[in-house]
């Protein structure tokens, strides 16, 4: 029986080559996109889940607010006390680990120098909580002594070639450390990444439980996942009890326990990842649905031609069920072809997809069993989605009507087809609008005046250099004819982090403020604008090179900070400032500038001249970029013969703030084009079919004097009406979604009405083009011929 079904289905598909090709092509595109997006989404969703205890691990987020703050400050860094206190005081907490980023270390192995950008210090419990596979060493004791370090396989190979690493000594920052373990390289889907993990005991702070500065990431291992909220509540109650007086004075602090499995998706560092994954998931499913609709539409449209066959089968005793299976088999054959081909194409396209999205996904994201299961599920869903409706409708005919080719009972399939065409185009229009709006907003952001001149600024990582070296390096670099200006700071102006507390004019409580120590040339190199006071100068520099207690700092506030203090820029100049113990005076007020993503508005910021924390050197290139870079490289090698130059362009750093937006926009670009393509394939198929059906009518109309334009209009107007309806449905939906997306940006484009009109015109244009191919062909055909064939 099944063999018979397959045979007949195959012959039918073969006979209707045009509809088969259109349906198949659409389905292949649908499956390819589904597999690519599915792999990407899966890759993000399985972040951190490889840890055996993943469901019991929570990440601690910290927020605090001092009385003068408008909003609380949220940070992923927690005080050193959090982990040990949680473990000691709460029975829900089985274990806890503090992790301190210990980046940019100079490592000496024998006589070879390495600069390591990815080192952390962690409590010994890290390997009890997280599942990193040990190749050698004992996970239980690896980090239980100071100056012990566990390295990854890749690092071990780099340091010791093929020699065993365990027990070897390496020098990190002039101290000897012992390698006590080698673990497999961290999987790319681990949010905890390190090349070297040193013992937290090597850190001076390790013995103290400090609450007033936040430098560590804290992870807790709960006894059961259900205890998360209870533990969080108890922990916050404990903190409130411990710091009663501060809380009474209006200071608040709060700790949130975020499940590890959600951390990657919801953390601010990932942007709106959760939303974007959802959008991409919807796109994947919709695209597949649109492709399945093509099959449904073409099949029901063609069904008139198959009525006699259905009738004969029924007369011969076919039950409704067997006819349903018959029609489903046709859908199934196409689907299986599409699933196989689409998956192979997806695999072949993965490198290109990775390039487009700057990701590194591969089929290894899939668990073997799930992969097969997904393909099977994909097959069944698509086959049912595509073949279900035609099978139900076609099998329902009374044999008498079917034999008489009485298609009156097919009118409901015609209305379904209309509905589905409207659906396809509504989705396409929404995608097109979404793509255009996203593109416009991202263009707006990348060209926005953020108050900082980012062009031609190279950011050199100088975290391994001593302060004296930085000074000589700068002096040497600025002599190059390709370098205009050089400055230094702890953070770049697109990503300032530090949370400080600032008291002005002897206030009781300070205001929370972002602050960054900078070099005296910072303002001029980055083209920031002073609106009051004067720039930093040499004497400010000399002031802060005195012993700490004798220093008088020069501070530069932004306009927002001054506004929040209730002062005008002019009034602010000369006011006394105490910033976390640094005393001095306001020297200047800067026009507001963005120092973080444009998702956020501008908040108070203070820059101050200080030379103890230089991590970045910023060099402005003049003339040729490549010669500028070459100059930097030459000077770098002169000062750091043993380590490689690491640099980035400030403008790229800025663009990277919108990585997940840009990635989603890039995907949206391509996939909305595919959506409209697949929709048009269906429309084309329907127009071919309709023209064939109305051949005689067209012939008669032409004989009676209808012009080509009139015939084309006659054949297109019905579909254009449907697309008009789709437009009416799509516009408000697209408006709703794009508006709520734009709401997430403090700086955004104005309501893009022009884009709506453009999208509508674009869709109607593409649809008209698709329809006119067939309509014009029919209109110019010789009417005698079409009448004769009838």
């Amino acid at each position: 029986m099944l063999k018979n079904y397959i045979k007949i289905a195959w012959r039918n598909l073969w006979k209707n080559k045009m509809t088969t090709t259109l349906s198949l092509f659409g389905l292949i595109l649908g499956v390819t996109c589904f597999m690519l997006l599915g792999t990407y989404i899966l890759n993000e969703l399985r972040y951190d889940r490889f840890n055996d205890k993943a469901v019991r691990i929570v990440f601690v987020n910290y927020s605090y607010k001092s009385p003068s703050d408008v909003e609380a400050t949220h940070t992923r860094n927690t005080p050193t006390a959090v982990a040990p206190v949680a473990k000691r005081e709460f029975y829900e907490v089985e274990d806890a680990v503090r992790i301190y980023r210990y980046d940019r270390r100079e490592v000496e192995v024998g006589n070879t120098h390495f600069t390591e950008g990815n080192m952390l210090l962690a409590d010994a419990s890290i390997f009890h909580i997280f599942s990193f596979d040990f190749i050698s060493g004992n996970p239980g004791t690896a980090l239980d002594k100071p100056n012990t370090v566990v390295i990854t396989q890749r690092t071990a190979k780099k340091y010791f070639k093929n020699q065993p690493a365990l027990g070897k000594s390496i020098v990190i920052n002039d101290k000897i450390w012992e390698v006590t373990g080698v673990v497999k390289d961290n999987p790319p889907y681990s949010s905890l990444q390190f090349d070297l993990a040193g013992s937290y005991l090597s850190n001076k702070r390790s013995e103290q439980e400090i609450w007033n500065s936040a430098n560590d990431h804290s992870y807790l291992l709960l006894k059961t996942p259900e205890q998360r909220l209870q533990a969080e509540q108890k922990f916050n109650a404990y903190v409130q009890n411990q710091f009663q007086d501060d809380f009474k004075g209006g200071f608040t602090m709060r700790f949130d326990f975020i499940p590890l499995t959600e951390d990657h998706l919801s953390s601010a560092a990932s942007g709106n990842l959760k939303t974007y994954l959802f959008i991409l998931g919807v796109i994947a499913v919709l695209l597949l649905t649109i492709a399945a609709i093509n099959f449904t539409n073409l099949m029901t449209a063609k069904s008139v031609e198959r009525l006699r066959e259905i009738g004969v089968r029924k007369v011969m005793g076919a039950s409704r069920q067997s006819l349903i299976i018959q029609f489903l088999t046709e859908a199934a054959i196409l689907t299986i072809l599409a699933v196989c081909t689409g998956t192979l194409i997806a695999i072949a396209l993965m490198p290109a997809f990775n390039k487009l999205t700057t990701l590194n996904i591969s089929l290894t994201s899939w668990d073997g069993t799930y992969f097969v299961l997904t393909l099977v599920l994909l097959f069944f869903t698509t086959a049912l989605l595509a073949g279900g409706w035609p099978a139900l409708v076609l099998s329902r005919f009374k044999p008498v009507n079917a034999l008489k080719n009485n298609a009156t009972s097919l009118t409901n399939t015609a209305s379904l087809r209309k509905f589905l065409v409207v659906f396809q185009f509504a989705v396409s229009i929404i995608f097109i609008i979404g793509t255009l709006v996203a593109k416009k907003q991202l263009d707006f952001i990348s060209k926005a005046d953020t108050g900082v001149n980012r062009s031609n600024v190279v950011v050199v990582d100088a975290s391994s250099m001593s302060q004296n070296t930085v000074e000589s390096f700068k002096e040497k670099l600025v002599t190059s004819q390709y370098i205009n200006e050089v400055t230094a700071s702890s953070d770049t102006p697109v990503d300032m982090k530090g949370g400080y507390s600032m008291k002005v004019n002897g206030q009781e409580s300070g205001m929370s403020i972002t602050a960054a120590p900078v070099d005296k040339d910072y303002i001029t190199t980055l083209g920031m604008r002073l609106i009051a006071g004067t720039n930093f100068n040499e004497s400010d520099k000399l002031q802060v090179q005195q012993p700490q207690e004798a220093r008088v700092y020069a501070f530069m506030l932004n306009k927002t900070a001054v506004d929040q203090l209730g002062l005008t820029p002019e009034e602010a100049i000369g006011e006394a400032v105490n910033l976390n113990g640094r005393k001095g005076f306001i020297k200047g007020v800067l026009q507001d500038f963005n120092f973080a993503s444009l998702h956020q508005g501008i908040s108070p910021v203070v820059l101050f001249a200080e030379y103890d924390w230089t991590a970045k050197i910023l060099a402005k290139i003049q003339g040729s970029t490549s010669q500028g870079l070459a100059a930097i490289q030459t000077v770098w090698t002169e000062f750091n013969p043993d380590s490689a130059l690491s640099y980035s362009f400030l403008d790229n750093d800025y663009q990277n703030l919108y990585k997940s937006e840009q990635r989603t926009a890039a995907i949206l670009n391509i996939f909305s084009a595919i959506t409209i393509l697949v929709s048009c394939l269906g429309l084309f198929g329907l127009s071919v079919f309709m023209v064939a059906q109305r051949k005689k009518e067209i012939g008669i109309r032409k004989v009676l004097g209808a012009s080509i334009v009139q015939i084309t209009y006659l054949l297109s107007v019905k579909f254009l009406k449907l697309i008009g309806i789709a437009l009416c449905i799509a516009l408000p939906i697209a408006w709703y979604f794009t508006t709520s997306w734009l709401q997430g940006f403090a700086y955004k484009i104005a309501e893009p009405y022009g884009l709506y009109i453009l999208s509508g015109a674009l869709t109607i244009g593409i649809a008209m083009l698709t329809l006119s191919i067939q309509a014009i062909k029919a209109a110019v055909a010789n009417p005698v011929k079409s009448l004769r064939t009838e």
Partner: protein
């Protein structure tokens, strides 16, 4: 075998109601060969559709093999049909996508006959209809006469008790037409009951009895040859 009493069927559009069968009554006994004649639109085909359980009547009674079947649902009708009734149409109604063999095999598939048995029976009937050499051809590769022979083969492959033929020679030339009529006669002589709708007086003469219809009613009935049934009563 068949007893219809006061059978009624209407076709209604929004404005007009057409009576296709108007209180029609007659009986057909097992082994009989009955021809139904009458002008176009007199209700012949409607009658055949109802007798073939392809359509249901709007009134009256239809007893088939002692069972009242008027009012059966589609599934029950299909079940009864596939085991008891074979059809021969004027336009053959072969499925273009299937070969001769596969077309004839179709009723056996739907009655759940095993593949080996199917092959045996299809080969037998194709042999009998002298169309064996064309078994791998598709319908459009055959002449009209050959196509109708395939259609007859398909109608009889399941050994139905009743064959309903709707103008079986209507699309054939006279020699092919005669061949088909001879085939039907042979089947009837072998015991199959046949009800045939026809316009052709020539074809009607092959039957035992001619029922003439007009406007959905029986007008005359001529007995051509004495038919002695073993079971006189239905």
């Amino acid at each position: 075998m068949i007893k219809i009493t006061d059978l009624e069927k209407y076709y209604a559009t929004e404005e007009v109601r057409t009576i296709a069968l108007n209180k029609l009554s007659f009986q057909v006994q097992e082994g009989e060969f009955v021809a139904v004649m009458g002008p176009s639109g007199c209700g012949k085909s409607t009658l055949l559709n109802i007798l073939g359980l392809l359509d249901d009547p709007d009134g009256g009674s239809f007893i088939f093999n002692g069972i009242e079947v008027a009012g059966f649902n589609e599934r029950k009708r299909a079940d009864l049909r596939k085991h008891n009734i074979g059809f021969v149409f004027q336009s053959f109604n072969l499925i273009d996508e299937l070969t001769v063999f596969e077309n004839v095999e179709l009723p056996l598939i739907y009655t759940g006959v095993k593949p080996a048995e199917r092959k045996k029976r299809v080969d037998e009937v194709l042999e009998k209809m002298q169309i064996m050499h064309r078994r791998k051809h598709f319908p459009q590769q055959l002449s009209g006469g050959q196509q109708q022979r395939v259609a007859v083969a398909r109608a009889v492959v399941n050994n139905p008790k009743l064959i309903l033929a709707d103008e079986p020679t209507g699309n054939l030339d006279s020699s092919n037409g005669n061949e088909v009529m001879d085939l039907l006669t042979e089947l009837n002589e072998a015991g199959t009951t046949i009800i045939m709708v026809t316009h052709s007086e020539h074809d009607a003469k092959y039957s035992h009895r001619i029922i003439r219809m007009l406007d959905g009613q029986k007008v005359t009935e001529n007995i051509l040859s004495e038919y002695k049934s073993k079971t006189l009563e239905v």
